[in-house]
Every structure is written in structure tokens, then in C-alpha cells.
Amino acid sequence: MTRVPEDFRTITPQLTVNGVGSAIEWYSKALGANELLRNMAPDGTSVMHAELLLGDSRFFVVDEFPEGAKSPRSLGGSGVTLHLYVEDVDTMFDRAVAAGAEVLLPVTDQFWGDRYGMLADPFGHRWSIASRIEDLSPKALQERAATWAKENAHE
């Protein structure tokens, strides 16, 4: 048996929310996540661990506990953005917004070769969603970024 479970990628985010039940419902409906398991805390109502599948990746969702990480709602912001690559960014983005996500950046073609948008889910977590539309070399990306910075410098 390998010590790295085959079905996990190297990095697995754990999202702290207020209300895992409704969060899982939202991630399922809006993003297409699928729940594998849910472990209740000793209090019988909070969830200490839940595991979801999203595309080929997994993420954990946990309720906020006094001794644990704070939810974005408690923090009044989030220091992390979760980035998704999908086949059809527009469909997924529209679905998330229809389900109640807040648009931070509408989907647009970006200089780095992605069609890309950003949103905040109803629990305060930030997501960027993109589809790759141009396959650029690192050199081309550097040039595009430099051009973009120059063009936006005077603003």
C-alpha cells in the first residue's frame, strides 16, 4: 500500500464554514461536487470532517470550532482563492452565480491565455474558475504580463 492515497492529489484544501450541511448542498448543486463521507462531532450536530470529490480532486469541509481555523465569515474575508480549471468556464460560473455566488470578476478572456472569472461562495470562500484557451510558453506569458503592466501603469 502506498502511503500517498492514490485518489488524492498532493494538495487537498480544507474549507472551514459555518454550517457544513448547507455548504455541501451548495458545492454539490453549484459546482458539481459529490460527497463521500461526513463525520459528526461529539455534539451530534457539527461536522468535524467531510470529504468531497470535485472533478479529479478532493477537498474537505469542516465546521468552525473554537480551537480550529476560522471561517471567512468570522474573519470578514479570506486569504485563499481556490482555482478550478474546467472545460466550460461560462456554464459553471453562471450556474454558481445562479445558485447564489457573488461575482468578484465576471468571466473574460485574460492575457495569460485563460477565460477566467472570480466569485465568492455563500460561505465566503473565494473561487477562480477558468478554461485554458491559449497554450502560451513561459516567455510569451512574461511578455504579455509585462505589456499588461505597462499599459495599466498610468491608471
Binding site: M1, E6, D7, L31, G32, E35, L36, L37, R38, E87
Partner: protein, 134 residues
């Protein structure tokens, strides 16, 4: 850890498909091979993998059910409606079978691997088959 109140139900028909691509891990391929002859329950899949690899590969229950969840979501396998042993609450007695799509994906992957193994044989990475009738 319990596998769960959260059933292995496929996504509802209008749910988005975030990845849109099928990931064939070694365990996923082994499960498809195990199901090629017909439906099996989880424990039966684990036994089959053990048998066809002469005990060299074992799929543990965690890998098994994570793979199964992904395969159901990807439409490669489906869970049978009936619990053949009448033990619906026992995850190890849930039965699974290949879908049409799953069979096509498994066949394509088997062909891909067979080509690679043939090439490896040609280049003496592994011995040529002896005693094979031509």
C-alpha cells in the same frame, strides 16, 4: 471512519461536470477489469484484484470506495438498485457493474496498455512470451 450516510449516488442529471475528463488510476482500471465479467460487490472486487495479480496488488477499502465514487460520478460504473444479499446497509454488499461507457473506456485503456507492453517486450524490457502459439 464510516462510509457513510452519504450514498454513492450519481449527480443529478443537470449537475455540472467540473472536470469533463475521466481519470484512470491503476485502481480504477483494476476495478473495471474486475467488473468486465459482470457485477460484483465491493469485497468481491477486492478479492478479484488480489486474484488476478497473484496477490501483488491489493486495493484497500479507502481506495476502493474513493475510486468507486469517482467512477459512478464519471458514469463508468453504476450501483445496482437491488441489494443482492439483502444487506443494503453494508457498503461491502453494494453491487456495481460497468456501464456501456465504462466498458468502452476500459477497452480503450486495455488496448493502450497492450500496445505499450508489446513495445516493452520488443525492446526486451520484459522477456518475450515463450511457448506462445503463432
Amino acid at each position: 471512519m464510516v462510509i457513510s450516510n452519504a450514498d454513492h449516488k450519481p449527480l443529478s442529471g443537470d449537475a455540472p461536470e467540473p472536470a469533463g475528463r475521466v481519470t484512470i488510476t491503476p485502481a480504477v482500471f483494476q476495478i473495471m477489469v474486475a467488473l468486465a465479467d459482470g457485477e460484483l460487490h465491493g469485497y468481491g472486487i477486492m478479492q478479484d484484484v488480489d486474484r488476478v495479480t497473484n496477490g501483488e496488488t491489493k486495493i484497500g477499502p479507502g481506495t476502493l470506495y474513493r475510486s468507486i465514487q469517482r467512477m459512478v460520478v464519471d458514469g463508468l460504473i453504476e450501483e445496482l438498485d437491488i441489494a443482492l444479499d439483502g444487506e443494503a446497509d453494508d457498503d461491502r454488499r453494494r453491487y456495481y457493474r460497468l456501464t456501456e461507457r465504462g466498458r468502452a473506456v476500459a477497452t480503450a485503456e486495455a488496448n493502450r496498455l497492450a500496445m505499450l507492453v508489446d513495445a516493452a517486450r520488443e525492446r526486451r524490457l520484459i522477456p518475450k512470451r515463450s511457448g506462445r502459439k503463432r
